[in-house]
């Protein structure tokens, strides 16, 4: 398979008042995501999972190292990178349709075309009848579907998802996971997903990268070769879950430095 995202020698340091006050977030991150792959990052809280996504999205400066997307050096925000935020980040003054359309609006797509395009997503994402609702009138699951539609409509080459289902109740969360898998199976987007929920990672991903506490590095990458649709409680699922959980627990007890 072709490479999509290549992260090499990535470092991040938040400078302090004096050199000894510097906070080193990433020790050295090397990671590769193949085209069409679903890669999930799990790690202890505060290890910089979100920071990593934000660096790829161009929202955060890179101290050193390089990020390449389909062979091209990434620098700053780029329409090739899409991002779904945990807190939805819908524009509250825009109704559902204009929220989905906004990326096309930024690209300068004429109003009629972008409306037609957005309507396709409304249909595919089960949002019919809510086109003229404001975000405050939507449920959490719906808001996140709008946010995903808004990201996918711009056809990014990689989709970053920062704990997108983190604030949903577990029922809605399961529904949304299945929904995401369905969409992904149709479109074959390259997805880099962040979660602290190991069950979610095992259920969704082709590969799972486990991060250490700060200064963060990748402890291990798991290949999840389970058939889809997956059984959340099968023996194989549990085996991988246990391995990851043990690794996380171990790394918390014995931090790298």
């Amino acid at each position: 398979m072709a490479l999509s995202l290549e992260i090499s020698g990535l470092k991040k340091v938040y400078p302090g008042a004096a050199p000894e006050d510097n906070v080193q977030v990433f020790d050295r991150i090397d990671c590769i995501v193949e085209k069409g792959q679903f890669l999930t990052i799990v790690g202890p809280s505060g290890c910089g999972k979100t920071t990593l996504l934000r660096m790829i999205a161009g929202l955060e400066e890179i101290t050193s190292g390089e990020i390449r997307l389909n062979g091209e050096h990434l620098n700053g925000c780029n329409e090739k990178v899409g991002m779904v935020f945990q807190e939805y980040a819908l524009f509250p003054w825009r109704k559902l349709l204009p929220n989905i359309e906004i990326g096309l609006e930024i690209k300068g797509v004429p109003a009629k075309e972008r409306r037609a395009e957005a309507m396709k997503y409304v249909g595919a994402f089960g949002l019919e009848g809510f086109e003229n609702k404001y975000p405050k009138e939507l449920s959490g699951g719906m808001k996140q579907r709008v946010a995903i539609a808004r990201t996918l409509i711009a056809n990014p080459q990689i989709v970053l998802m920062d704990e997108p289902f983190g604030s949903l109740d577990s029922q809605t969360r399961n529904t949304m996971q299945n929904f995401l898998l369905k969409i992904w199976a149709e479109r074959k987007d390259t997805i880099l997903f962040v979660t602290h929920n190991v069950d979610e990672a095992v259920y969704l991903s082709d590969r799972i990268a486990v991060l250490s506490p700060r200064p963060t590095k990748i402890l291990r990458v798991f290949d999840v070769n389970l058939d889809r649709p997956r059984d959340r409680t099968s023996r194989e699922t549990n085996r991988i879950r246990r391995e990851i959980l043990e690794l996380l627990e171990h790394s918390e007890q014995y931090p790298c430095q």
Partner: protein, 251 residues
């Protein structure tokens, strides 16, 4: 509105009328409600000074307020958005704002007369000063209250500065701007009358009308003028409230 809310003002008017009719309150100090109503009719029919009728006074006053207010909006909203957006601009301009803001608008009247002469322009300038600061401060806080993740969401979608300014910062700060606009017009309307007390020596204006009534000791017309000013202020606020409800449905 339920009748219960109307009860206190009606009782007040009745007590006032009773005290006036029985001579407890002398008419030269506080005329009875009925006399004030007569004064209002006089203002409408004859005018004060005679020939200068009420509706023309209202027209001039409202026009001054709208001029001053419109200029305040044009200056304060864009400046407020820039100041809310950029820390550099904020740090540059904030000390100046904080130095000028505590000066009461009315303290500018002598200077205004020096600059613009006695008349409508001076009054409009004073109103501008009164309305400018509340609009500016509310706009700044409106921009700063926008969830930063919205700006990031726009940036990730590759939005440029222009798009972020017009399609994120402006709509996001609308609720706060409207609050500022309501406070601003309220202060503008309050300063108007005082500005006209001293800034307008002839012609038209509600403040000028009241001062003329005072010169010839027509307290009924003074109070009638006050009532008119109050009612117009109430009407303006109701209009803005309506606009607010319409524009921030998303909240």
């Amino acid at each position: 509105m339920s009748w219960k809310r109307l009860l206190p003002p009606v009782v007040l008017l009745l007590v006032w009328q009773g005290l006036s009719a029985s001579g407890v309150i002398p008419a030269y100090k506080l005329p009875s409600p009925a006399a004030v109503a007569d004064g209002l009719l006089d203002l409408i029919r004859t005018g004060m000074p005679p020939g200068h009728r009420l509706h023309v006074h209202i027209y001039y006053s409202v026009q001054r307020v709208l001029w001053g207010y419109a200029l305040a909006l044009l200056a304060a909203i864009p400046l407020g958005i820039f100041m809310g957006w950029s820390r550099t601009i904020r740090n540059l301009i904030e000390p100046l704002v904080e130095m000028i803001r505590p000066i009461p608008p009315l303290a500018w009247i002598p200077l205004a007369i020096l600059w613009f002469g006695i008349g409508g322009k001076s009054a409009a300038f004073i109103i501008f000063l009164g309305a400018f600061f509340p609009i500016l401060l509310n706009t700044i806080s409106g921009v700063r209250s926008i969830d930063p993740v919205l700006i990031e969401a726009a940036r990730v979608l590759n939005a440029g500065r222009r798009f972020i300014f017009l399609k994120v910062l402006v709509p996001g700060s609308v609720p706060s701007i409207l609050t500022g606009m309501r406070i601003g017009i309220g202060i503008g309307w309050m300063t108007l009358v005082a500005a006209e007390f001293t800034g307008v020596k002839q012609g038209y204006g509600l403040g000028y009308m009241i001062m003329t009534a005072r010169d010839i000791q027509r307290s009924d017309e003074i109070i009638a003028g006050m009532v008119v000013i109050g009612l117009i202020g109430l009407g303006i606020d109701a209009c803005l409230r309506l606009a607010e409800q319409h524009l921030v449905k998303w909240r």
